[in-house]
Subunit: 317 residues, 2 copies
Protein backbone atom coordinates (compact mmCIF):
# COMPACT_ATOMS: atom_id res chain seq x y z
CA UNK A 1 0.00 0.00 0.00
CA UNK A 2 1.28 3.41 -1.01
CA UNK A 3 2.19 5.81 1.88
CA UNK A 4 -0.71 8.15 2.60
CA UNK A 5 -0.88 11.66 3.97
CA UNK A 6 -3.70 12.48 6.39
CA UNK A 7 -5.23 15.90 6.89
CA UNK A 8 -6.74 16.66 10.29
CA UNK A 9 -8.12 19.61 12.23
CA UNK A 10 -6.72 20.41 15.65
CA UNK A 11 -7.90 22.70 18.39
CA UNK A 12 -5.06 25.16 18.99
CA UNK A 13 -6.75 27.47 21.55
CA UNK A 14 -9.97 27.50 23.59
CA UNK A 15 -12.65 29.84 22.26
CA UNK A 16 -13.73 32.70 24.51
CA UNK A 17 -17.38 33.10 23.62
CA UNK A 18 -18.03 32.35 19.96
CA UNK A 19 -15.36 30.13 18.35
CA UNK A 20 -13.19 31.79 15.69
CA UNK A 21 -11.18 30.35 12.78
CA UNK A 22 -7.95 31.05 14.72
CA UNK A 23 -8.98 28.45 17.33
CA UNK A 24 -8.50 25.74 14.69
CA UNK A 25 -5.60 24.51 12.58
CA UNK A 26 -5.50 22.23 9.52
CA UNK A 27 -2.45 19.95 9.67
CA UNK A 28 -1.08 17.38 7.25
CA UNK A 29 0.55 14.33 8.83
CA UNK A 30 1.90 11.06 7.43
CA UNK A 31 -0.35 8.06 7.98
CA UNK A 32 1.16 4.81 9.20
CA UNK A 33 -0.12 1.42 8.03
CA UNK A 34 -2.67 -0.40 10.19
CA UNK A 35 -1.18 -2.78 12.75
CA UNK A 36 -2.59 -6.22 13.48
CA UNK A 37 -6.25 -5.92 14.54
CA UNK A 38 -6.53 -2.37 13.19
CA UNK A 39 -8.62 -0.88 10.42
CA UNK A 40 -8.00 2.13 8.17
CA UNK A 41 -11.10 4.06 7.10
CA UNK A 42 -11.54 6.79 4.50
CA UNK A 43 -13.97 9.24 6.08
CA UNK A 44 -16.56 10.45 3.61
CA UNK A 45 -18.87 12.41 5.95
CA UNK A 46 -18.24 14.08 9.26
CA UNK A 47 -20.78 15.41 11.73
CA UNK A 48 -20.94 18.92 13.17
CA UNK A 49 -22.91 19.07 16.42
CA UNK A 50 -23.59 21.96 18.81
CA UNK A 51 -22.52 19.86 21.84
CA UNK A 52 -18.93 20.04 20.54
CA UNK A 53 -18.76 23.66 21.68
CA UNK A 54 -19.03 22.41 25.28
CA UNK A 55 -16.08 20.07 24.77
CA UNK A 56 -13.94 23.05 23.76
CA UNK A 57 -14.22 24.35 27.34
CA UNK A 58 -11.80 23.07 29.95
CA UNK A 59 -14.49 22.15 32.48
CA UNK A 60 -15.75 18.94 34.03
CA UNK A 61 -18.68 17.59 32.06
CA UNK A 62 -20.23 14.33 30.97
CA UNK A 63 -17.67 14.14 28.15
CA UNK A 64 -14.01 15.09 28.59
CA UNK A 65 -12.84 18.36 27.03
CA UNK A 66 -10.89 18.41 23.78
CA UNK A 67 -7.15 18.78 24.44
CA UNK A 68 -5.25 21.74 23.04
CA UNK A 69 -3.00 20.75 20.13
CA UNK A 70 -4.88 17.50 19.58
CA UNK A 71 -7.12 16.58 16.70
CA UNK A 72 -10.80 17.21 17.35
CA UNK A 73 -13.05 14.16 17.37
CA UNK A 74 -16.67 13.56 16.54
CA UNK A 75 -18.96 11.25 14.64
CA UNK A 76 -18.01 10.33 11.07
CA UNK A 77 -18.81 7.67 8.50
CA UNK A 78 -16.54 6.18 5.86
CA UNK A 79 -15.48 2.99 4.15
CA UNK A 80 -12.71 0.58 5.04
CA UNK A 81 -9.65 0.92 2.79
CA UNK A 82 -7.41 -1.53 4.66
CA UNK A 83 -8.23 -4.05 7.35
CA UNK A 84 -6.05 -6.25 9.54
CA UNK A 85 -9.06 -7.74 11.29
CA UNK A 86 -10.70 -10.73 9.62
CA UNK A 87 -14.19 -9.58 10.69
CA UNK A 88 -13.98 -6.26 8.82
CA UNK A 89 -13.99 -6.38 5.03
CA UNK A 90 -12.39 -3.66 2.88
CA UNK A 91 -15.08 -1.67 1.14
CA UNK A 92 -17.56 -2.03 4.02
CA UNK A 93 -19.10 1.07 5.61
CA UNK A 94 -18.60 2.07 9.22
CA UNK A 95 -19.63 4.71 11.77
CA UNK A 96 -17.11 5.90 14.38
CA UNK A 97 -16.13 8.81 16.61
CA UNK A 98 -12.78 9.72 14.99
CA UNK A 99 -13.95 12.53 12.76
CA UNK A 100 -12.26 15.87 11.89
CA UNK A 101 -9.73 14.06 9.67
CA UNK A 102 -9.73 12.41 6.27
CA UNK A 103 -8.58 8.97 7.37
CA UNK A 104 -9.31 7.24 10.67
CA UNK A 105 -7.05 4.47 11.93
CA UNK A 106 -7.71 2.34 15.02
CA UNK A 107 -8.78 -0.96 16.54
CA UNK A 108 -11.48 -2.72 14.54
CA UNK A 109 -13.90 -2.70 17.50
CA UNK A 110 -14.00 1.11 17.51
CA UNK A 111 -15.73 1.07 14.11
CA UNK A 112 -19.39 0.13 13.96
CA UNK A 113 -20.72 -1.40 10.71
CA UNK A 114 -23.59 0.45 9.02
CA UNK A 115 -25.87 -0.74 6.25
CA UNK A 116 -26.00 1.79 3.37
CA UNK A 117 -29.06 0.01 1.94
CA UNK A 118 -31.07 1.45 4.89
CA UNK A 119 -30.19 5.06 4.12
CA UNK A 120 -27.33 7.10 2.59
CA UNK A 121 -24.16 7.01 4.74
CA UNK A 122 -24.60 10.62 5.92
CA UNK A 123 -27.97 9.71 7.46
CA UNK A 124 -26.12 7.66 10.11
CA UNK A 125 -24.73 10.95 11.44
CA UNK A 126 -28.19 12.52 11.65
CA UNK A 127 -31.60 10.97 11.43
CA UNK A 128 -30.26 7.43 12.04
CA UNK A 129 -27.48 8.58 14.38
CA UNK A 130 -27.19 10.36 17.71
CA UNK A 131 -29.45 13.30 16.76
CA UNK A 132 -32.16 10.86 15.66
CA UNK A 133 -31.82 8.77 18.82
CA UNK A 134 -31.99 11.98 20.83
CA UNK A 135 -35.31 12.84 19.16
CA UNK A 136 -36.65 9.33 19.75
CA UNK A 137 -35.61 9.07 23.42
CA UNK A 138 -36.58 12.67 24.16
CA UNK A 139 -40.05 12.26 22.71
CA UNK A 140 -40.96 8.83 24.06
CA UNK A 141 -38.85 8.14 27.16
CA UNK A 142 -38.25 11.60 28.59
CA UNK A 143 -41.30 13.42 27.21
CA UNK A 144 -43.77 10.57 27.81
CA UNK A 145 -45.40 11.50 24.50
CA UNK A 146 -49.05 10.60 23.87
CA UNK A 147 -50.62 10.74 20.38
CA UNK A 148 -53.24 13.17 21.70
CA UNK A 149 -50.57 15.69 22.73
CA UNK A 150 -50.06 19.15 21.39
CA UNK A 151 -46.28 19.21 20.92
CA UNK A 152 -44.05 22.26 20.59
CA UNK A 153 -40.50 21.78 19.24
CA UNK A 154 -37.82 24.47 19.26
CA UNK A 155 -35.00 24.39 16.67
CA UNK A 156 -37.53 22.31 14.78
CA UNK A 157 -35.70 22.52 11.46
CA UNK A 158 -32.54 21.10 13.04
CA UNK A 159 -31.25 17.56 13.15
CA UNK A 160 -33.04 16.59 16.37
CA UNK A 161 -36.14 18.76 16.12
CA UNK A 162 -37.06 17.80 12.56
CA UNK A 163 -37.29 14.12 13.51
CA UNK A 164 -38.97 14.74 16.89
CA UNK A 165 -41.71 16.74 15.19
CA UNK A 166 -42.21 14.26 12.38
CA UNK A 167 -42.38 11.24 14.71
CA UNK A 168 -45.06 13.05 16.72
CA UNK A 169 -46.94 13.85 13.48
CA UNK A 170 -46.79 10.20 12.32
CA UNK A 171 -48.48 9.23 15.62
CA UNK A 172 -51.24 11.77 15.09
CA UNK A 173 -50.20 14.60 17.40
CA UNK A 174 -50.63 18.30 16.73
CA UNK A 175 -47.13 19.67 16.19
CA UNK A 176 -45.87 23.25 16.26
CA UNK A 177 -42.29 24.22 15.56
CA UNK A 178 -40.10 27.28 15.90
CA UNK A 179 -37.02 27.98 13.82
CA UNK A 180 -34.63 30.83 13.09
CA UNK A 181 -35.97 32.07 9.75
CA UNK A 182 -39.22 32.47 7.84
CA UNK A 183 -37.93 30.05 5.18
CA UNK A 184 -37.36 27.35 7.80
CA UNK A 185 -40.81 27.94 9.30
CA UNK A 186 -42.31 27.54 5.81
CA UNK A 187 -40.28 24.34 5.32
CA UNK A 188 -41.67 22.87 8.55
CA UNK A 189 -45.25 23.43 7.43
CA UNK A 190 -44.94 22.70 3.72
CA UNK A 191 -42.35 19.92 3.63
CA UNK A 192 -42.52 18.26 7.05
CA UNK A 193 -46.28 18.60 7.61
CA UNK A 194 -46.16 20.53 10.89
CA UNK A 195 -49.53 21.99 11.94
CA UNK A 196 -47.96 25.33 12.75
CA UNK A 197 -44.55 26.95 12.62
CA UNK A 198 -43.03 30.37 13.19
CA UNK A 199 -39.76 32.27 13.06
CA UNK A 200 -38.86 32.93 16.72
CA UNK A 201 -37.04 36.11 15.72
CA UNK A 202 -40.27 37.56 14.34
CA UNK A 203 -42.53 38.94 17.08
CA UNK A 204 -43.64 37.78 20.50
CA UNK A 205 -43.17 34.04 21.03
CA UNK A 206 -45.89 33.59 23.63
CA UNK A 207 -48.37 35.44 21.41
CA UNK A 208 -47.53 33.18 18.45
CA UNK A 209 -47.89 30.10 20.63
CA UNK A 210 -51.25 31.29 21.93
CA UNK A 211 -52.47 31.69 18.36
CA UNK A 212 -51.15 28.34 17.18
CA UNK A 213 -52.06 26.38 20.33
CA UNK A 214 -55.01 28.18 21.92
CA UNK A 215 -55.63 25.29 24.32
CA UNK A 216 -52.02 25.09 25.43
CA UNK A 217 -49.14 22.71 24.93
CA UNK A 218 -48.76 19.28 26.48
CA UNK A 219 -45.15 18.60 25.58
CA UNK A 220 -42.34 21.03 24.87
CA UNK A 221 -39.29 19.47 23.22
CA UNK A 222 -36.69 22.15 23.86
CA UNK A 223 -33.55 21.84 21.76
CA UNK A 224 -32.24 25.20 22.87
CA UNK A 225 -31.91 24.96 26.65
CA UNK A 226 -28.54 23.22 26.57
CA UNK A 227 -27.17 26.24 24.74
CA UNK A 228 -28.14 28.65 27.51
CA UNK A 229 -25.06 30.02 29.15
CA UNK A 230 -24.45 31.57 32.54
CA UNK A 231 -24.89 35.07 31.18
CA UNK A 232 -28.47 34.24 30.25
CA UNK A 233 -31.23 34.53 32.82
CA UNK A 234 -33.67 31.65 32.96
CA UNK A 235 -37.36 32.05 32.18
CA UNK A 236 -39.25 34.59 34.24
CA UNK A 237 -42.26 32.32 34.59
CA UNK A 238 -40.59 29.30 36.17
CA UNK A 239 -43.06 29.45 39.08
CA UNK A 240 -45.71 28.18 36.64
CA UNK A 241 -44.07 24.77 36.96
CA UNK A 242 -46.18 24.46 40.12
CA UNK A 243 -49.54 25.89 39.06
CA UNK A 244 -49.43 24.03 35.73
CA UNK A 245 -48.07 20.81 37.28
CA UNK A 246 -45.15 20.74 34.85
CA UNK A 247 -42.29 18.30 34.66
CA UNK A 248 -39.05 19.57 33.14
CA UNK A 249 -36.37 17.00 32.45
CA UNK A 250 -32.87 17.11 31.07
CA UNK A 251 -31.09 14.09 29.64
CA UNK A 252 -27.84 13.02 28.01
CA UNK A 253 -28.15 10.69 25.09
CA UNK A 254 -25.20 8.49 26.07
CA UNK A 255 -27.34 7.18 28.97
CA UNK A 256 -29.87 5.81 26.49
CA UNK A 257 -27.85 3.81 23.96
CA UNK A 258 -29.79 0.65 24.81
CA UNK A 259 -32.69 2.17 22.84
CA UNK A 260 -30.80 2.08 19.54
CA UNK A 261 -32.47 -1.14 18.38
CA UNK A 262 -36.01 0.13 19.02
CA UNK A 263 -35.09 3.45 17.43
CA UNK A 264 -33.75 1.99 14.18
CA UNK A 265 -36.67 -0.45 13.98
CA UNK A 266 -39.13 2.46 14.08
CA UNK A 267 -37.30 5.10 12.10
CA UNK A 268 -35.56 3.19 9.26
CA UNK A 269 -38.87 2.07 7.64
CA UNK A 270 -40.24 5.62 7.92
CA UNK A 271 -37.20 6.89 6.01
CA UNK A 272 -37.42 4.17 3.37
CA UNK A 273 -41.10 4.86 2.74
CA UNK A 274 -40.41 8.59 2.54
CA UNK A 275 -42.89 9.29 5.34
CA UNK A 276 -40.16 10.97 7.36
CA UNK A 277 -37.74 13.38 5.69
CA UNK A 278 -34.29 14.23 6.92
CA UNK A 279 -33.05 17.65 5.88
CA UNK A 280 -29.27 17.80 5.52
CA UNK A 281 -26.93 20.66 4.73
CA UNK A 282 -23.62 19.68 3.17
CA UNK A 283 -20.32 21.53 3.42
CA UNK A 284 -17.54 20.35 1.09
CA UNK A 285 -13.96 19.92 2.25
CA UNK A 286 -12.46 19.18 5.65
CA UNK A 287 -10.75 22.58 5.55
CA UNK A 288 -14.16 24.27 5.68
CA UNK A 289 -15.32 22.44 8.81
CA UNK A 290 -14.24 25.09 11.37
CA UNK A 291 -16.13 27.91 9.65
CA UNK A 292 -19.17 25.67 9.16
CA UNK A 293 -19.10 24.80 12.86
CA UNK A 294 -19.01 28.50 13.75
CA UNK A 295 -21.93 29.16 11.38
CA UNK A 296 -23.88 26.26 12.90
CA UNK A 297 -23.52 27.70 16.40
CA UNK A 298 -24.56 31.17 15.29
CA UNK A 299 -27.68 29.68 13.72
CA UNK A 300 -29.83 30.68 10.79
CA UNK A 301 -27.59 29.41 7.96
CA UNK A 302 -28.21 25.67 7.79
CA UNK A 303 -31.32 23.55 7.51
CA UNK A 304 -31.31 20.16 9.20
CA UNK A 305 -28.25 18.12 9.97
CA UNK A 306 -24.93 19.78 9.09
CA UNK A 307 -22.51 17.32 7.45
CA UNK A 308 -19.01 17.94 6.14
CA UNK A 309 -18.18 15.92 3.01
CA UNK A 310 -14.50 15.18 3.48
CA UNK A 311 -13.84 13.03 0.41
CA UNK A 312 -14.24 14.17 -3.21
CA UNK A 313 -17.26 12.80 -5.04
CA UNK A 314 -16.55 9.40 -6.52
CA UNK A 315 -14.14 8.39 -3.76
CA UNK A 316 -16.55 5.88 -2.25
CA UNK A 317 -16.38 2.25 -3.43
Amino acid sequence: MQALQNREIRLVSRPAGWPEPANFELVEVPLREPADGEVLVRNTHMSLDPYMRGRMRDTKSYVPPFAIGEVLTGAAVGFVVASRDAAVAPGSWVLHDRGWREYALGPAKSFQPIDPSQAPPSAFLGVLGMPGLTAFVGLYDIGAFKPSDVVFVSSAAGAVGSLAGQLAKVKGATVIGSAGSAAKAAYLKEELGFDGAFNYKDGDISKRLNELAPNGIDLYFDNVISQYNEATHGPKNLAMIVGKRLTMRGFIIIDHFTRIGDFVAEVAPLLQSGRVKFPESFVDGLENAPQAFIDLLRGGKYLGKVVVRCAPEGTAP
Copy 2:
Protein backbone atom coordinates in the same frame (compact mmCIF):
# COMPACT_ATOMS: atom_id res chain seq x y z
CA MET B 1 -79.82 27.81 71.84
CA GLN B 2 -78.94 31.40 72.55
CA ALA B 3 -78.47 33.63 69.45
CA LEU B 4 -74.78 33.90 68.59
CA GLN B 5 -72.71 36.61 66.97
CA ASN B 6 -70.01 35.51 64.54
CA ARG B 7 -66.82 37.43 63.80
CA GLU B 8 -65.27 36.95 60.38
CA ILE B 9 -62.57 38.46 58.23
CA ARG B 10 -63.37 39.66 54.72
CA LEU B 11 -61.19 40.66 51.80
CA VAL B 12 -62.18 44.24 50.98
CA SER B 13 -59.58 45.00 48.29
CA ARG B 14 -56.99 43.07 46.30
CA PRO B 15 -53.40 43.58 47.46
CA ALA B 16 -50.97 45.16 45.03
CA GLY B 17 -47.69 43.49 45.92
CA TRP B 18 -47.46 42.77 49.64
CA PRO B 19 -50.86 42.57 51.37
CA GLU B 20 -51.62 45.35 53.85
CA PRO B 21 -53.99 45.53 56.84
CA ALA B 22 -56.35 47.76 54.81
CA ASN B 23 -57.03 44.87 52.43
CA PHE B 24 -58.87 43.10 55.28
CA GLU B 25 -61.88 43.88 57.44
CA LEU B 26 -63.13 42.30 60.65
CA VAL B 27 -66.95 42.12 60.66
CA GLU B 28 -69.44 40.97 63.25
CA VAL B 29 -72.56 39.26 61.90
CA PRO B 30 -75.46 37.43 63.52
CA LEU B 31 -75.29 33.67 63.26
CA ARG B 32 -78.41 31.75 62.26
CA GLU B 33 -79.26 28.36 63.71
CA PRO B 34 -78.26 25.22 61.75
CA ALA B 35 -80.92 23.91 59.36
CA ASP B 36 -81.71 20.25 58.89
CA GLY B 37 -78.54 18.35 57.89
CA GLU B 38 -76.29 21.21 58.97
CA VAL B 39 -73.63 21.46 61.62
CA LEU B 40 -72.36 24.43 63.65
CA VAL B 41 -68.68 24.37 64.60
CA ARG B 42 -66.70 26.56 67.00
CA ASN B 43 -63.37 27.09 65.27
CA THR B 44 -60.44 26.81 67.66
CA HIS B 45 -57.54 26.95 65.23
CA MET B 46 -57.23 28.42 61.77
CA SER B 47 -54.46 27.89 59.23
CA LEU B 48 -52.42 30.58 57.51
CA ASP B 49 -50.80 29.37 54.30
CA PRO B 50 -48.71 31.19 51.69
CA TYR B 51 -50.85 29.86 48.83
CA MET B 52 -53.69 32.14 50.05
CA ARG B 53 -51.82 35.11 48.61
CA GLY B 54 -52.42 33.65 45.14
CA ARG B 55 -56.14 33.45 45.80
CA MET B 56 -56.21 37.18 46.53
CA ARG B 57 -55.36 37.82 42.86
CA ASP B 58 -58.17 37.94 40.33
CA THR B 59 -56.53 35.47 37.93
CA LYS B 60 -57.36 32.02 36.67
CA SER B 61 -55.63 29.38 38.75
CA TYR B 62 -56.14 25.91 40.13
CA VAL B 63 -58.28 27.41 42.92
CA PRO B 64 -60.78 30.21 42.34
CA PRO B 65 -59.86 33.68 43.63
CA PHE B 66 -61.35 35.05 46.85
CA ALA B 67 -64.24 37.42 46.11
CA ILE B 68 -64.09 41.04 47.23
CA GLY B 69 -66.42 41.70 50.16
CA GLU B 70 -66.65 38.01 51.02
CA VAL B 71 -65.24 36.18 53.99
CA LEU B 72 -61.85 34.59 53.36
CA THR B 73 -61.73 30.83 53.61
CA GLY B 74 -59.05 28.33 54.50
CA ALA B 75 -58.40 25.29 56.63
CA ALA B 76 -59.58 25.34 60.25
CA VAL B 77 -60.34 22.90 63.05
CA GLY B 78 -62.96 23.13 65.75
CA PHE B 79 -65.57 21.24 67.68
CA VAL B 80 -69.25 20.74 66.97
CA VAL B 81 -71.50 22.92 69.11
CA ALA B 82 -74.77 22.01 67.40
CA SER B 83 -75.63 19.30 64.93
CA ARG B 84 -78.74 18.55 62.90
CA ASP B 85 -77.15 15.50 61.34
CA ALA B 86 -77.42 12.23 63.27
CA ALA B 87 -73.93 11.15 62.15
CA VAL B 88 -72.18 14.14 63.74
CA ALA B 89 -72.10 14.31 67.55
CA PRO B 90 -71.83 17.61 69.43
CA GLY B 91 -68.40 17.85 71.05
CA SER B 92 -66.68 15.94 68.26
CA TRP B 93 -63.71 17.51 66.43
CA VAL B 94 -63.69 18.35 62.75
CA LEU B 95 -61.44 19.76 60.03
CA HIS B 96 -62.92 21.95 57.29
CA ASP B 97 -62.15 24.74 54.82
CA ARG B 98 -64.35 27.49 56.30
CA GLY B 99 -61.75 29.32 58.31
CA TRP B 100 -61.21 33.08 58.91
CA ARG B 101 -64.24 33.17 61.24
CA GLU B 102 -65.07 32.06 64.75
CA TYR B 103 -68.00 29.83 63.89
CA ALA B 104 -68.51 27.73 60.78
CA LEU B 105 -71.98 26.63 59.68
CA GLY B 106 -72.73 24.30 56.82
CA PRO B 107 -73.77 20.86 55.55
CA ALA B 108 -72.45 18.03 57.72
CA LYS B 109 -70.56 16.49 54.83
CA SER B 110 -68.33 19.55 54.49
CA PHE B 111 -66.80 18.78 57.90
CA GLN B 112 -64.29 15.94 58.20
CA PRO B 113 -63.95 14.17 61.58
CA ILE B 114 -60.49 14.22 63.17
CA ASP B 115 -59.18 12.15 66.06
CA PRO B 116 -57.55 14.37 68.71
CA SER B 117 -55.98 11.30 70.32
CA GLN B 118 -53.62 11.11 67.33
CA ALA B 119 -52.29 14.64 67.79
CA PRO B 120 -53.43 18.06 69.10
CA PRO B 121 -56.17 19.62 66.91
CA SER B 122 -53.81 22.25 65.45
CA ALA B 123 -51.59 19.48 64.04
CA PHE B 124 -54.35 18.64 61.55
CA LEU B 125 -53.69 22.02 59.94
CA GLY B 126 -49.96 21.37 59.64
CA VAL B 127 -48.02 18.18 60.05
CA LEU B 128 -51.15 15.97 59.70
CA GLY B 129 -52.86 18.31 57.22
CA MET B 130 -52.20 19.69 53.75
CA PRO B 131 -48.66 20.89 54.51
CA GLY B 132 -47.76 17.45 55.84
CA LEU B 133 -49.33 15.69 52.87
CA THR B 134 -47.42 18.07 50.59
CA ALA B 135 -44.16 17.04 52.25
CA PHE B 136 -45.05 13.34 51.97
CA VAL B 137 -46.17 13.44 48.31
CA GLY B 138 -43.36 15.78 47.30
CA LEU B 139 -40.69 13.61 48.84
CA TYR B 140 -41.91 10.17 47.79
CA ASP B 141 -44.14 10.56 44.71
CA ILE B 142 -42.71 13.64 43.01
CA GLY B 143 -39.14 13.52 44.29
CA ALA B 144 -38.74 9.72 43.97
CA PHE B 145 -36.77 9.83 47.21
CA LYS B 146 -34.25 7.07 47.96
CA PRO B 147 -32.76 6.56 51.46
CA SER B 148 -29.26 6.97 49.99
CA ASP B 149 -30.08 10.49 48.73
CA VAL B 150 -28.50 13.73 49.79
CA VAL B 151 -31.59 15.93 50.18
CA PHE B 152 -31.70 19.72 50.23
CA VAL B 153 -34.86 21.45 51.56
CA SER B 154 -35.56 25.17 51.28
CA SER B 155 -37.85 26.87 53.82
CA ALA B 156 -36.84 23.89 55.90
CA ALA B 157 -38.14 25.35 59.16
CA GLY B 158 -41.60 25.84 57.65
CA ALA B 159 -44.67 23.65 57.81
CA VAL B 160 -43.83 21.60 54.69
CA GLY B 161 -40.05 21.65 54.82
CA SER B 162 -39.73 20.62 58.46
CA LEU B 163 -41.64 17.39 57.81
CA ALA B 164 -40.00 16.68 54.43
CA GLY B 165 -36.56 16.91 56.00
CA GLN B 166 -37.46 14.80 59.02
CA LEU B 167 -39.09 12.06 56.93
CA ALA B 168 -35.92 11.88 54.84
CA LYS B 169 -33.82 11.71 58.02
CA VAL B 170 -35.96 8.90 59.47
CA LYS B 171 -35.23 6.89 56.31
CA GLY B 172 -31.49 7.46 56.67
CA ALA B 173 -30.85 10.19 54.12
CA THR B 174 -28.37 13.05 54.50
CA VAL B 175 -30.47 16.20 54.88
CA ILE B 176 -29.49 19.84 54.49
CA GLY B 177 -31.89 22.72 55.06
CA SER B 178 -31.98 26.43 54.44
CA ALA B 179 -34.05 28.91 56.41
CA GLY B 180 -34.39 32.66 56.87
CA SER B 181 -32.49 33.18 60.15
CA ALA B 182 -29.53 31.81 62.06
CA ALA B 183 -31.86 30.74 64.87
CA LYS B 184 -33.95 28.67 62.46
CA ALA B 185 -30.82 27.09 60.99
CA ALA B 186 -29.70 26.16 64.51
CA TYR B 187 -33.15 24.71 65.22
CA LEU B 188 -32.92 22.48 62.14
CA LYS B 189 -29.62 21.00 63.26
CA GLU B 190 -30.18 20.86 67.03
CA GLU B 191 -33.86 20.03 67.29
CA LEU B 192 -34.77 18.32 64.02
CA GLY B 193 -31.49 16.44 63.51
CA PHE B 194 -30.62 17.85 60.08
CA ASP B 195 -27.06 17.07 58.97
CA GLY B 196 -26.49 20.63 57.87
CA ALA B 197 -28.40 23.92 57.82
CA PHE B 198 -27.74 27.54 56.94
CA ASN B 199 -29.35 30.96 56.86
CA TYR B 200 -29.85 31.73 53.16
CA LYS B 201 -29.54 35.45 53.89
CA ASP B 202 -26.01 34.94 55.20
CA GLY B 203 -23.45 34.57 52.40
CA ASP B 204 -23.29 32.75 49.11
CA ILE B 205 -25.81 29.90 48.87
CA SER B 206 -23.90 27.78 46.35
CA LYS B 207 -20.74 28.08 48.46
CA ARG B 208 -22.62 26.91 51.58
CA LEU B 209 -24.12 24.02 49.66
CA ASN B 210 -20.72 23.00 48.31
CA GLU B 211 -19.37 22.91 51.86
CA LEU B 212 -22.31 20.98 53.28
CA ALA B 213 -22.76 18.61 50.32
CA PRO B 214 -19.35 18.32 48.66
CA ASN B 215 -20.53 15.41 46.49
CA GLY B 216 -23.67 17.18 45.33
CA ILE B 217 -27.38 16.89 45.97
CA ASP B 218 -29.66 14.17 44.69
CA LEU B 219 -33.01 15.72 45.58
CA TYR B 220 -33.93 19.38 46.04
CA PHE B 221 -37.28 19.93 47.76
CA ASP B 222 -37.94 23.55 46.85
CA ASN B 223 -40.64 25.22 48.92
CA VAL B 224 -39.88 28.65 47.52
CA ILE B 225 -40.40 28.35 43.77
CA SER B 226 -44.17 28.80 43.93
CA GLN B 227 -43.54 32.20 45.49
CA TYR B 228 -41.45 33.43 42.57
CA ASN B 229 -43.27 36.16 40.77
CA GLU B 230 -42.99 37.51 37.27
CA ALA B 231 -40.62 40.24 38.35
CA THR B 232 -38.11 37.61 39.42
CA HIS B 233 -35.73 36.10 36.92
CA GLY B 234 -35.34 32.36 37.03
CA PRO B 235 -32.06 30.63 37.84
CA LYS B 236 -29.09 31.49 35.63
CA ASN B 237 -27.91 27.90 35.52
CA LEU B 238 -31.05 26.24 34.14
CA ALA B 239 -28.99 24.74 31.28
CA MET B 240 -27.46 22.39 33.87
CA ILE B 241 -30.76 20.49 33.77
CA VAL B 242 -29.27 18.79 30.70
CA GLY B 243 -25.67 18.15 31.72
CA LYS B 244 -26.72 16.96 35.19
CA ARG B 245 -29.67 14.93 33.87
CA LEU B 246 -32.09 16.73 36.22
CA THR B 247 -35.83 16.38 36.53
CA MET B 248 -37.74 19.37 37.86
CA ARG B 249 -41.37 18.83 38.69
CA GLY B 250 -44.16 21.01 39.98
CA PHE B 251 -47.28 19.64 41.62
CA ILE B 252 -50.50 20.71 43.28
CA ILE B 253 -51.45 18.85 46.39
CA ILE B 254 -55.17 18.63 45.54
CA ASP B 255 -54.23 16.13 42.80
CA HIS B 256 -52.83 13.76 45.42
CA PHE B 257 -55.54 13.47 48.08
CA THR B 258 -55.76 9.71 47.51
CA ARG B 259 -52.45 9.45 49.38
CA ILE B 260 -53.96 10.70 52.66
CA GLY B 261 -54.37 7.18 54.10
CA ASP B 262 -50.75 6.21 53.43
CA PHE B 263 -49.60 9.54 54.72
CA VAL B 264 -51.42 9.37 58.07
CA ALA B 265 -50.37 5.73 58.52
CA GLU B 266 -46.71 6.71 58.22
CA VAL B 267 -46.66 10.08 59.95
CA ALA B 268 -49.08 9.71 62.90
CA PRO B 269 -46.93 7.04 64.67
CA LEU B 270 -43.81 9.15 64.13
CA LEU B 271 -45.52 12.06 65.86
CA GLN B 272 -46.79 9.91 68.72
CA SER B 273 -43.35 8.44 69.35
CA GLY B 274 -41.81 11.91 69.23
CA ARG B 275 -39.47 10.86 66.44
CA VAL B 276 -40.86 13.63 64.24
CA LYS B 277 -41.42 17.10 65.67
CA PHE B 278 -43.83 19.65 64.33
CA PRO B 279 -42.89 23.25 65.05
CA GLU B 280 -45.91 25.52 65.36
CA SER B 281 -46.19 29.27 65.88
CA PHE B 282 -49.44 30.45 67.46
CA VAL B 283 -51.12 33.80 67.01
CA ASP B 284 -53.99 34.59 69.40
CA GLY B 285 -57.22 36.16 68.22
CA LEU B 286 -59.00 36.14 64.87
CA GLU B 287 -58.49 39.93 64.68
CA ASN B 288 -54.72 39.37 64.45
CA ALA B 289 -54.93 36.98 61.51
CA PRO B 290 -54.40 39.58 58.72
CA GLN B 291 -51.20 40.97 60.24
CA ALA B 292 -49.94 37.45 60.97
CA PHE B 293 -50.61 36.49 57.35
CA ILE B 294 -48.62 39.52 56.15
CA ASP B 295 -45.76 38.59 58.49
CA LEU B 296 -45.84 35.00 57.26
CA LEU B 297 -45.44 36.13 53.65
CA ARG B 298 -42.59 38.48 54.49
CA GLY B 299 -40.82 35.59 56.23
CA GLY B 300 -38.36 35.42 59.10
CA LYS B 301 -40.83 35.83 61.97
CA TYR B 302 -42.41 32.44 62.46
CA LEU B 303 -41.04 28.96 62.96
CA GLY B 304 -43.02 26.04 61.53
CA LYS B 305 -46.73 26.04 60.90
CA VAL B 306 -48.51 29.35 61.57
CA VAL B 307 -51.82 28.81 63.38
CA VAL B 308 -54.32 31.39 64.58
CA ARG B 309 -56.02 30.44 67.83
CA CYS B 310 -59.49 31.88 67.39
CA ALA B 311 -61.14 30.71 70.60
CA PRO B 312 -60.04 31.72 74.12
CA GLU B 313 -58.28 29.03 76.11
CA GLY B 314 -60.73 26.73 77.84
CA THR B 315 -63.36 27.03 75.10
CA ALA B 316 -62.83 23.49 73.86
CA PRO B 317 -64.98 20.69 75.30
